[in-house]
Structure formats: C-alpha cells, structure tokens
C-alpha cells in the first residue's frame, strides 16, 4: 500500500496511538466508530422521544414549545434537546471519520463492498433526519432551512405546485405542514435504523454497542457539554422577514451555504456524482481476494471455521461426498476476504502431519498451510546463530508493525490464520528459540476478530488451543500498528535476550528431511466444488 492512502493510514495510526494512551486500547473511540455511531443514534432516538412529549405541532406552537422546554424546563427537557442536537452532530462526525478510516485501511473493496455500498444511503438518511429535525423548531434557522430546501427541491420540477409557496408569507403556512414534518422526522430515522441494520448484515458479531466504559464517558461528555454550552435557540421564524445571519450547524447543515452559492443544477449533479462515485469506489479499481477453499478429505464439519469467520462467509451444509459426517462447510466467495482465520481454526491444520501431502480442511489459495510451513522453515533457516542464542521467528500480520519484510519474519494476512500448532511446531522442532506473533494494533484487528481469537487460543480458552506443552516464556505476542515498527523491534530484541538467558529447551525433536519438503499437493485432494460435481 502506498500513496495518499498509506499516508492517511499511518496518520490514523499515529493519532490513535495518542488516544490509546487516553482511553486505553479497548476503549479507543477510533476503533469503535461503528459502535459509537449506533450508540449516538440511540441517544438521539431516546432524547427525541422525550422531547416529543413536550413538542407541539403548529406554526406558533412549535417554537413556543421548544422555547418553553429550553428555558422553563432547561434542566431536563433543555438538556435533552442539547443532547439530541450534539449527539446528532457527533453522529455526522463519527460517520465520516468511519468512512475515511475504512478507505485508508482499504477495507471497502472485494468482499467488503456490501458494507461500503450500504453505508452510502446511511449518509443521506442521517442528513435527512437532521434536516427535518431542524425544521421542527421553527426558528430563524428552520425558516432558512425550509426556504433553501424547498427552493432547491422545486428546481426538480416534479412537484405540482412549488413547495416553496408554503413559505411565501405568514398567511400561506398551515399547521398541517408541521404534522407532516413530524411524520417525516419519525419515519426517516426509522428507515435510517433499517439501513444501519442492513449495513452490518455481512459481518459476524457486529459491534453495535461500544464498551460500557466508552459509552459511559461519551454520555457523560455529552451531558456535561450540554450543560456548559446548551444548544442555542434563535429567534422565532417570521415569513415576513428574510433570514440574514444564520447560526448554521456546520455538521448537519454545512451544505446549505453551498446550496445558496451555486446553481441548483450543480448541486444536483454533485449529489448524483457523490452518491454514484462513493458507491462505485469498491470497483475503482476492483479487488478480488482468492477465497478460502474447502478440502473435504480433511473436513469433518466440526464448525470451528464457521464460528470463527468474522464475515459470515462460511456455512454448514449437508455432506456431499458420502463421508460418514453429517455436515461439511461451504465458503461463500463473495463474502470471503481471505483473512485465513478459518485455516487457523481448522483442527486439520497441523504442520506436524507427515503422512501424505500437507492439506487442511479449509485453506487459502494464496498462502496454503503447506506454503506457510515451508516459509516458516525457510525463515528459520535465515536466522543467525544456533540453538539457545535467542533466535526469534516472527509471524507477522501484514497490517501491523511487522508488515515489512525482514529476516526470520513470515508475513500472514492475520495472526489468527496461524494455527496454534504452528507455534508448537516451530519450538518443538527447534526451528527457533522462540516465536513472536506480531499482530495489528491492540485497539483493532484489521480482520475484526483475529486478535481476539489469537489471544483466546493462546490462553487455551478457545479451540484450537495452543498446547500446554508449549513453553509460554518462548512465545511473545506484540500488538502494534504500522507506525510502531521500532517498538516491535525493541520488544523482539528484548525477547531474544530473555530467550538467550533461558536454559536450553530439552524437548526438541529436530526437523527430519521429509518434513522439509513442501507438501503442497492440493490437486490430489477433493475440493468441495469437485465433490459437488
């Protein structure tokens, strides 16, 4: 990855390291943007329902009720109004940061296109929700929004009567218009909720709730902010007057000054280009990840890969090859991002196997288990020094500090792609004195669940376990982002020193000649697609 995207990715990583210190990696808001978006949506929804209790629809009554709740009842309803507004503003901020960050991390192409494309209408529905909300207050900003919006919509020529005529003079505006706006301000957020639900459909264990600590301080920050700087209420709308100085909410209404400044045709062309361009980005250019493949001779339908897949790309289906198992797994290539987590989860992924070719139940075409074992053996051979000198073989995620090539380093798409038995293999065969597993930054795994599964497997909390016989003092895990290569180097060097100080590992059974051979013989195996034919 190079160019502006790489620079932005590294910029995000640097900024997020600062936030790691403030929040802790698990509460870092930058790694919880999607979940924070959901949380802010619910704050807006709950405060909106509360405000609706006090809101009156009507040309005069609307402003009067908002003024009443903002002044006479500022301590509950007024705070709720400020929360409603500031949470909406933060939602816009979170939404666009999320969008830019996913682009910077190249997590929008290939199988991830669905989440990207389904996020585009979410943007517009967030804006529509906000705009209809501003309208309801019926203050000077609302009047300006109403006029600018309706004058823009009228340029489409699809309405029987110019809707801006509703705001021609005080006599032309009716109370029923506010009933319509209330309906829209409820219906549009409900549609937004539906779109947000669709947005997370293609990922497993979608995070729609931030960690409780982050949620608590976010809510506390919003309440404190609402008390320190309550949302202002402008003067009442007056259709006999022309709004001049507008206290614009630049988050929600930032496009309105643009609408006033350029011809309507340019605005509509911009809307279409932005929407189509943004939705088309996953194909500019397209990326096709080589999806994981199932080898039925080594699959008993145990379901571990199904459970571990972060993208719901693997499902259980009835057995098709006549083997005495009820299920087999099936990979949906349209959903597979080729992270390899399934391969790491498969109990057949054992590098110790010596009978026949090294084939596993589910494998990555671009980096098969046999290739990984061969790379590990080659990487170990490149290490300097002999046994007991502190030789460290690094299994490095390509999205973290270990993304670059280095002697004794084997790159993988995700640390959870490495079966725990590979760690056992490296140490027990004496390929290295210790293994460093270098993943993404602790705050967030590039493939969503890789860090979580790796930690759980090493802690023997999740199958496949890292065997108890593996000396834990010879295994190091480093979670570091792409700008933390020096830290990875320091921690690996310190680990090497500790290894050198350890007594020799006595349970080494050296690698035999046949194990050095590359056991890549997939062509002889039964791929699931072949069995189906």
């Amino acid at each position: 990855m190079a160019g502006p995207r790489a620079a932005l990715r590294r910029g995000f990583d640097r900024a997020e390291r600062v936030l790691d210190r403030a929040f802790g990696p698990d509460w870092n808001p930058m790694s919880q943007l999607g979940a924070l978006g959901w949380f802010l949506f619910w704050i807006v929804a709950v405060t909106g329902i509360y405000l609706f209790i006090f809101f009156d629809t009507g040309v005069q009554a609307a402003y009067g009720s908002v003024e009443w709740l903002s002044t006479d009842h500022w301590w509950h309803a007024g705070v709720a109004r400020s929360l409603h507004r500031y949470a909406s503003d933060l939602l816009v901020l979170v939404m666009f940061t999320h969008l830019v960050r996913e682009w910077a991390k190249d997590r929008y192409r290939g199988a991830r296109w669905f989440s990207w494309v389904s996020g585009v209408p979410v943007i517009w529905f967030v804006y529509l929700s906000g705009i209809t909300g501003y309208w309801l207050v019926w203050d000077q900003v609302a009047q300006w929004v109403a006029l600018t919006t309706t004058e823009l919509l009228d340029t489409l020529g699809i309405f029987g009567e110019p809707i801006a005529r509703n705001f021609l003079s005080p006599a032309t505006l009716s109370d029923r218009f506010f009933t319509l706006m209330v309906f829209l301000h409820i219906a549009i957020p409900l549609l937004l909720l539906l779109l947000m639900w669709i947005h997370v459909q293609r990922i497993a264990l979608a995070r729609t709730r931030p960690p409780r600590g982050l949620a608590a301080i976010t809510l506390a920050g919003l309440v404190a902010g609402s008390l320190i700087l309550p949302a202002p209420l402008n003067g009442p709308a007056d259709l006999a007057a022309a709004p001049q100085e507008i206290a614009v909410d630049w988050f929600m209404l930032g496009l309105y000054p643009v609408i006033e400044s350029v011809p309507a045709g340019v605005i509509w062309a911009g809307v279409v280009l932005f929407t189509v361009g943004l939705a088309g980005m996953p194909w500019l250019p397209a990326r096709r990840d080589a999806a994981a493949e199932v080898f039925l001779d080594h699959c008993n339908g145990c379901e571990r890969c199904v459970v571990d897949c972060p993208y719901s790309a693997i499902t259980l289906v009835p057995r098709s090859d006549g083997a005495p198992f009820r299920w087999e797994v099936e990979v949906n290539p349209d959903r597979c991002v080729a992270c390899g987590i399934c391969m790491g989860a498969c109990p057949s992924s054992s590098p110790f196997r010596r009978s026949g070719d090294l084939i596993t139940g589910i494998d990555l075409p671009d980096q098969q288990l046999a290739e990984l074992r061969a790379e590990v053996i080659a990487g170990a051979a490149a290490l300097e020094g002999g046994p007991g000198t502190g030789r460290v073989l690094t299994l490095a995620c390509r999205h973290g500090a270990g993304e670059g090539a280095a002697p004794g380093r084997v790159g993988v798409p995700c640390t959870a792609m490495v079966p725990p038995s590979m760690i056992d293999f490296i140490i027990s065969r004496g390929l290295a004195d210790g293994v460093a597993v270098a993943g993404c930054a602790e705050r967030e795994c590039h493939n969503r669940l890789g860090k979580r599964w790796t930690d759980a497997r090493f802690a023997r909390e999740r199958d496949p376990f890292l065997r108890a016989r593996v000396p834990r003092e010879r295994v190091l895990t480093v979670w570091a982002g792409p700008t933390e290569a020096p830290r990875l180097g320091r921690e690996t060097a310190a680990f090497a020193d500790r290894l050198a100080a350890l007594p020799p590992y006595e349970r080494i059974r050296p690698l035999e000649e046949d194990e050095r051979e590359n056991g890549n013989g997939n062509a002889k195996q039964t791929r699931r697609t072949e069995a189906a034919q």
Partner: protein, 172 residues
C-alpha cells in the same frame, strides 16, 4: 475499575473537548444568507391559462346523448400564462409559464426570488392568461418599500384578476 480511573478521566476530558467543539461548530461561525442591507421580494402564484373552446354545431349536439349535450367543447390543454415584472422600469422577469400536468391541463405556476438592496421600488406586474387576447388580464403598479431583512411576497388572485402584496404596498 480503579485501574481504569485514568482512562475514565482522560477519556472524559477528550470526549468533552470534542462535544464542546461540536457545540461551537453547531452554531458558529454564522452564515450571511442575505447582506445586512438587503431585503427579499418574492413573486409566486398559481393560476390557470385559458382553454380553447368552440360552440358545438346542432348536428354535433344531436348526435350526443341528452345528458351530454353541452353547448361548448374545450381542449383539455390550457394555454400558457405569460407574466412580466419590472422594477423601476427595468424588466426583471418576462416568462411564459407552461401549464402543469402531463396533459397540460393544470395551472401554471411560478416562484421567483429577488434579493434587493433596501429601498423603494416601482414594481410593475403584467399577466396574460390567453395568448390570443389583446392586452393583459391583470396589470398592477405599486411602490414597494423594502426594509433591510424584510420579505415581501407577491401573489396573484385569479378570481379577482389582481396581484396581491403581502404586506400591502402603496398604490397596490
């Protein structure tokens, strides 16, 4: 949880700073939609153009069932409406407004806004609903005194064939 107190405190401070930043940007800086010494004059109306009609011949009437014998037959499509607006003698609008609807059977509509420096303006309005008729169906001259920040609306009362100013203006 005690171990997380520094994160709670620092995280809260960061979130509060972001919220306060958002609060400031949610109302400032102000946008000048209209210059301080300007007002707004808006012309908007909806009115129907004339229809082309002719009398039925006695033979045509006789051929119709009794309950459908109307003396005149009209085209469904309406004529476009023509409107002119002059400010201080200078033409600012001269538009032919097509009839609405797919079949052209609906009224013609217009909405135009004029951002003007505050002051007095001689406004002349002329409207024609039948292109084949001589002259105009409605003509109005008025002195509009536009205050800074004021919005003056001009509508058309088709029933009485006259332009209506809101608020009412001198000479209307």
């Amino acid at each position: 949880m005690t171990a997380r107190l520094p994160h709670l405190a620092a995280g809260f401070a960061v979130i509060l700073a972001v919220v306060l930043g958002a609060a400031v940007l949610s109302a400032r800086p102000v946008w000048h939609s209209l210059p301080a010494d300007h007002g707004l004059l808006r012309l908007s109306f909806t009115t129907s153009g004339a229809r082309r009609c002719r009398d039925r011949t006695p033979e045509e009437l006789a051929a119709l069932p009794r309950n459908m014998r109307q003396d005149q037959i009209c085209e469904r499509r309406r004529a476009p409406v023509y409107v002119e607006l002059d400010l201080d003698g200078a033409p600012r609008l001269a538009a032919t407004l097509p009839p609405g609807g797919l079949a052209g059977s609906g009224p013609s509509r217009v909405y135009r806004r004029f951002e003007l420096p505050a002051g007095a303006y001689e406004v002349a309005l002329r409207l024609r609903t039948d292109p084949e008729a001589e002259g105009f169906a409605a003509e109005t001259r008025a002195t509009v005194t536009l205050q800074p920040g004021q919005s003056v609306a001009i509508d058309y009362d088709g029933a009485n064939a006259r332009f209506v100013f809101d608020p009412p203006q001198e000479g209307e």
